[in-house]
Symmetry: D2
Subunit: 299 residues, 4 copies
């Protein structure tokens, strides 16, 4: 795996020669340098959104055969190339982000079966912007999209190619504007026993990855405002997945010497929820006393 290149500023990209532009943009579309080559001539771009719109148009307006080639240039998810380490560094990092590099044998077999069925029906690999999904969601999409007609599925595949390109562009290029490709997950704990933010509460965020298995996403501790210093997830799409937040309330109230039962009525409070909008803002707060709590999708 290679390290991420430094991001490059849009106004520099606007000024360099065509070859340098193409090199700098290489890989935004997997094995398809023709897309960025075609964009070079449209410079200068007023904004990142402008650049992305141009790339989108080039892809959408390409002849059918070229669009099919673009789609066919993508690797299988959790496929042989991935197991053999033969992916681009972008694809490697993306597949790992959804845990596709750590599948059980049964999960590999399931991907293998779906890949085969998909290839047989559509003649190209299954493409999904994996940074927008957890493993369960990828499998659910895979099964659902197998029901599509070939024409609808090619459109869906190209839409995913463009989503992948948008995220790669967001990492490669800096500009005054940003593409709307990030979501945000945050929390807040209010101690309604004392009428103030709950400071010093340990929090864990897990992704529920199927069956009883869970994966720790992040640990944090609330600050004086009852929030975490940084959002639980930010700067990337929120993977569509089921999550569990665990709030260590019992230790918090015990530390305040609030009279508690033994064992305390509430100790570690789990809140299970799902994210369905990867670019959305999810605020999942907790209002709590030692004897009660509320949670909700906030804003």
């Amino acid at each position: 795996m290679t390290s991420d290149p430094e991001p490059i500023a849009l106004d520099i990209l606007n000024r360099v020669d065509d070859t340098s532009f193409t090199v700098a943009m290489n890989g935004v579309f997997e094995h398809a340098p023709w897309v960025v080559e075609a964009a070079a001539g449209h410079r200068p771009f007023a904004s990142l959104a402008d650049l992305y719109t141009t790339l989108t148009g080039i892809v959408r307006d390409a002849p059918l055969e070229q669009r099919l080639t673009l789609v066919r240039g993508h690797p299988d998810l959790a496929g042989k190339a991935a197991r053999a380490g033969d992916l681009t560094s972008d694809s490697t990092a993306e597949q790992a982000s959804a845990g596709l590099d750590r599948l059980s044998d049964a999960e590999y077999a399931e991907f293998h079966r779906l890949n085969d069925a998909y290839h047989a029906k559509f003649g190209f690999p299954f493409i999904v912007c994996v940074r927008r999904h957890g493993k369960e969601s990828i499998l659910a999409n895979f099964a659902r999209r197998l029901e599509n007609t070939p024409q609808a599925e090619l459109d869906t595949a190209l839409a995913e190619v463009l989503r992948i390109g948008a995220l790669r562009l967001d990492q490669r290029v800096t500009a005054a504007d940003r593409l709307s490709v990030h979501g945000r997950l945050s929390t807040h704990i209010l101690d309604t026993h004392r009428g103030r933010p709950a400071e010093g509460v340990a929090i864990e965020l897990f992704e529920l990855t199927g069956g009883d298995s869970i994966r720790l996403v992040v640990r944090a501790v609330t600050n004086a405002d009852g929030r975490t210093d940084a959002p639980l997830i930010a700067g990337r799409p929120l993977p569509t997945a089921r999550y569990e937040l665990r709030f260590h309330l019992g230790a918090y109230f015990a530390g305040l010497h609030v009279p508690l039962a033994d064992p305390p009525f509430l100790d570690v409070v789990p809140v299970r929820f799902a994210i369905a909008e990867p670019e959305g803002h999810y605020h999942v707060p907790l209002l709590a006393t030692p004897w009660s709590y509320s949670t909700y999708r906030g804003s």
Copy 2:
């Protein structure tokens, strides 16, 4: 294991001869028929509470040696007698109720270690009214009571003997009154999206038995009033333990055709809490919409 005998009415017990009384009461105190024999002469009893108070007095007023013998007549928890099937039927059922007949090897080893340390310090077996505890709570009590002085611990052991006797008495004898030996756990789901009780919601109650292991206690479905037809636990002490209620909210709101995200923001809602008062009433309701919920210790 023998089947439970039919309960007998107090007014019959008041009228039979002393031998019949002693036989009918046999086993209320483990291997200590002298307690009930001594009670026979105090008949008639105006109430079950009156009978129990008399038994309590006989135990408390017995000479030290007799009290020690009473205590020593009890089997070890999860000990050799239990593994060999050499317990009274009462003890067998009681130990099974807390899962002591289904311990892992590590748990058996832990009980063995504690039993040895306890015998070495106090000279009698560790006695606890197991129907009032989950496995975690028994182990926590065991470790805590090992710190007691011998005198304090004998008192504690006798108090547990009397609690065991009260529960056995409650099963054996019917009367106009009842001993206060039962608790109650109930729930209620209010659909605050529609302003009415949530009917048809599947609920599961698990006991958390240590680490990640859980044990299903009961399944139920809410009725038209948003309650379960019977309390989740009733007619017995509530085992001191940690629990998880799971409310299948997602399926409920999907069935009502309420617009939901995909996957739904809330699906199976877990509520973790602990019971610390075995004879208490715990009401743990849920107020819920597809996007929010509240829970609390109610009444």
Copy 3:
């Protein structure tokens, strides 16, 4: 105003002669003894519901002219007869229950205007079962029903005559069954600061009677279970109206020596709600700490 007669048992009514039956039932339908006379021959009645169904059938099957006469036998609401004290005792008590005997001059003028318009359009007086409404609701119904067609409005008027009859029957006759003519309003306060019912909280229930004016309905204090000893309203229909419950939380928490701000963040907590189903059960609880509260339509 006469005192209420003693209720009479249905099985006695089933046995007495026709004249006594008619006398006992007199006034169930205002100035229309023919209805109960016709029912006498249908005895015995298996239940109160059976008797009421029979009376309903007699009214519904009567010729148009007789139904019109029945409707015309009712007094105007807040009309001249009421001001002159010329109503039956039933009508007097009913109109007083909705405050129609204590109208301001402007309100009398409004009723006068509506009565005139109604008589002019329909040729009979406006009839509504006033025990099911507050003053605002009566006026809103009055205005709305003026828009009806004459045929629809005669049906509506007869339905109200039958509702009035059901309530009078419920007061006159005792039986194993009851008619479903009563509602219930209750509350419950849970102290989620301490995880137990809030005992000793003063509560007031007001009816909001238009503009800024309010009318005290009842005062109560919560008992050890956080409830009032009796429902706030029961044994009668709940008047369709807007209400305000006032919970004296500040004094409650101050009495427990909970640390509070000065003045306390929450003191007297008002909860405004409306009742729209006179025969419904409204449970309006409060979950509260010194810094937060929740309320909802419960069950």
Copy 4:
């Protein structure tokens, strides 16, 4: 009443001659130019806080007689000078901010009585930083401080003089820093029926000014984030007082065509609370469905 002068920058004040400084600072301490004159020589001030600390030191270190003169230079609250229009423009605006220019005859009489008693006991006028209080709070403080010893009360009066000075300074001088003399009251409405912010809800904030009388503070409508575009109160201390927020929920849900009862169970939701920390941040949100709501002191 004169219009407020333009604020002047601290770095200008640091450079002008002593006389100009004294003129610019005139009135920060009522009828006591000696305080600012004494401060002129301490220039330059690194920050507004530095200037304020210097002024505080000059007042605190002044001889007793000068401190008494400073205190005696203040007008009575709601006194003869106020009625006659003989106050400084600062005092006029301040007294009006608490409604002291709109007292009923009974309230004037009460202030008169308290002023007399206070003068008789302490020999100087009652001083309170009125921008930090509602009328009820001023009267409560007045009565409470009458119980003080003369020495304690002189200290209290000087502390209020300094608070008044801090607020006047905050209005007169701009600098990189700000004095901590402002509070903030905000709200937020979350529609937990739909899992999103409630947009377009009309809100009113009233101050409860004693008995049944209320005073409208501000009206607002929630924006797309469920908040008001500006805080309900900001840029000034929050007057210690009781308040009522009214949330027009019924109209909001009706506008969304959510099925509602007639009349709706919830229509205008009142939330009564008190502010006790004038420099605090009070966030009073509402989580609501057509059938339930929660509120709390948030952050």
